[in-house]
Each structure stands twice: as C-alpha cells, then as structure tokens.
Symmetry: C2
Subunit: 216 residues, 2 copies
Amino acid sequence: MTEIENIILPEPTLRRLPWYLAYIEILKGTGVSTVSTTRISRALNVDSSQIAKDLSFLNIKGKPRIGYNISDLSQALSTFLGFSHEHRAIVVGVGSLGAALLQDKGLARYGLGIVAGFDVDPGLIGSRIGDVPVYAISEIERVRRETGASIGILTVPARKAQEMTDIMVSTGIKAIWNFTPYRVRVADGIVMANTSIYAHLALIYNRLGAATASMG
Amino acid sequence: MTEIENIILPEPTLRRLPWYLAYIEILKGTGVSTVSTTRISRALNVDSSQIAKDLSFLNIKGKPRIGYNISDLSQALSTFLGFSHEHRAIVVGVGSLGAALLQDKGLARYGLGIVAGFDVDPGLIGSRIGDVPVYAISEIERVRRETGASIGILTVPARKAQEMTDIMVSTGIKAIWNFTPYRVRVADGIVMANTSIYAHLALIYNRLGAATASMG
C-alpha cells in the first residue's frame, strides 16, 4: 500500500514531492529509464539527502549507483500523492477563475474531478462549462449528496466567502480549497487549504520594489 | 510614504496583510467606519498583538478605544501592498489558466496589469483574450520592451517551464510567478513566486485521507 492517505505528511514534503514528479515525468518523456537522487538534486536545487528522506515515505527502493526506475517512481509518487484516483469536487462561484477551473482538463490528471459548479447568476445556472453543469446555490445539498463530492472549491467574492463555506460544510463537504483573499474559518476536522493569489502578488511587488531600491 | 516597496517584509506578514484588507473592505461595504485590532482578531482568528505588529509597518495610527478609520486603513493597506498602482505583467502560456488570468478583471484591482499573452498555438496568436493581445513567443523581447512589463506569469506545461523562464528573464523580466508544478530555477536577483496548485491538491488529499482514516 503506497497510498498517502493514511499518514499526515509534513507540508514541506507535500510541496516537494510534486516537484520530483513533474521533473521525472519530463525525463520519462525524453526516454530516460532511471534517475538518481543526485540527478534530481542537481535539476531542482534540493539537497539530495532531503530527496532521499522525502522518497522514504514511499514504498519504493532505488538501486545503489543506478537509482530509481523512472516508470516505477512516477507511478508510486502519483499514487502516493493521491493523483491517480479521483477526488470529487464542486466549485462555488463560476466567475473567471471558477470557470477556468471547470474547463481545466489538466486537473483530472492530478486526481481532481470537478462534478458541479454553483453560482447566483441566472445566466449561468442551467448551463454547462467545460462539460460541467452549473447549478443554483439552493441545489448544493442535493448535488453534493448525489455526486458524493468531498472537496469544495471557493471562488466567490470575498464578502461571500464565509457564508458559502458554511453552506458547503453543512452539506457534507470535508475540505475547502479557498482562492479568495478572505480568511475563512471552519470547524475542527474540516480540511482547509488557501491558495493566496493576492498574498503572492503582494510578495512579488514587495520583493521587486526592494530589488529596485537596492539597485538604485 | 507608505509604499511597501522599500523594505523586505516577512512572508507571514505579507500573507496576513491581504486578509486584513479583505476583511475591512467587507466591513466598509456594510457602512462601518472604524475598526479595532480586537474586532479584526475575532473575525480572522489572528492574535490581536500580531495584527498590531503587522499594521505597525504601515504609516497609520489607530485611536485608543476606537481603532482605525476604515477608509484610511483600507487605503493605506492597499497602497502599502502595492495594489493601488499598476505593475505590468505578461502571461506565457495561454491555456485554460493563462486565458483565465487574461480575462480576470479582478486582478487589476490588486495592481496587476496584464499587457500581453504569449503562446505557440497559431490559432491563438494574433487574437485578443479579455482585450489582451496574444503574440508568438518570438515577439517577447519586443513586446516586453515596448510595454515595460516586469512580471512574467508562467502558465505553460511543466516541460516548457524552465525554457520559457530563461527566455523571459533574458528579455528583462524581473519577477516570475510560476503556476506550473515544475520547480523553475532563476539567477540571484530575480524574484520568484510559486503558486503550487498541485502541492495544495496533494495537501488536501493527504489531510482528507488522514481525517477519514482516524474516523474509521
């Protein structure tokens, strides 16, 4: 059993494992069949003992002086990270970002199956975006139950973020993926992940300004 | 001068300040005119002394027992975070995420002015998406120079990430905002921000699985 889903992995490990996967999938595409931690280390600028430690969570062994079989490692990483089986999700807020997620076929390759969108806009309700049906908010409870979705993706305006989160959790959603700038609160036991686009912008502006100032 | 761009702020502060801004803009919309750190603290579940410390980077003072004037604080935060003036950016890779960013009018309210998109698809080159022109990669150097863009948004497939980053940097781009799962390397002095959608998915799957296992 190489499933990730039994142990709580440290966040830094969860951030690095997808880097390794992306890198070895590129290598696989070039026809290479084995890879060493040294090679991954050089490509990604991550310490090779750190890579070995991260990979030790997986049930896979490399060979001395040869390294890992790339197909095996790719499959083990993908399974371990939960990318190789479907996790169902709903998207609440079908604006430009929400609609992009509905249309993004690439997310399925990472195990995310978006089964429904929800919005307040009568022009969107009843339509399909990227083959995903869009419903009124009032239908969340039924659609959530019928699809068995466990993940709720939050792409509404900030002022609606807490209210829509509470509605999702009340219908049985177990994880909230928050793309809004608002810090949403959830009860213990509900998984919360924030993708802070606005914090990243603030970081870029700050570092750019500091770099410019130090050059000036 | 309340510009953020002269000092390097700690990343956790840069993550929290946009939360405060989002919250007080919601409050402003309800007609409230002042806000205390205690009130922000209760709403966002952040320690109130931490909020006071974060806000001390700004050139703004609250009044004892009253707190901050909301309009003043909102404006100060927005200016300080760099959201109130335009930072020009180009988007390399106009797939579903790249195209969504071109169409997202909301980013302009956070100071991001996307002036051009680039792609290899002949069907996209020469078109406009959300009023932003899409060019061939071969035109990056000229368009970068003519627009004065300093930020490069990377939304290409992982196998193209490093090559496109190198091209952007060679044309004068000073900051890379990486949305790919690949860990891109840049020279010292180039600002790098990673928005790790795939790492967040791995985190959600892991925590969901662990929660389910502990209940079972």
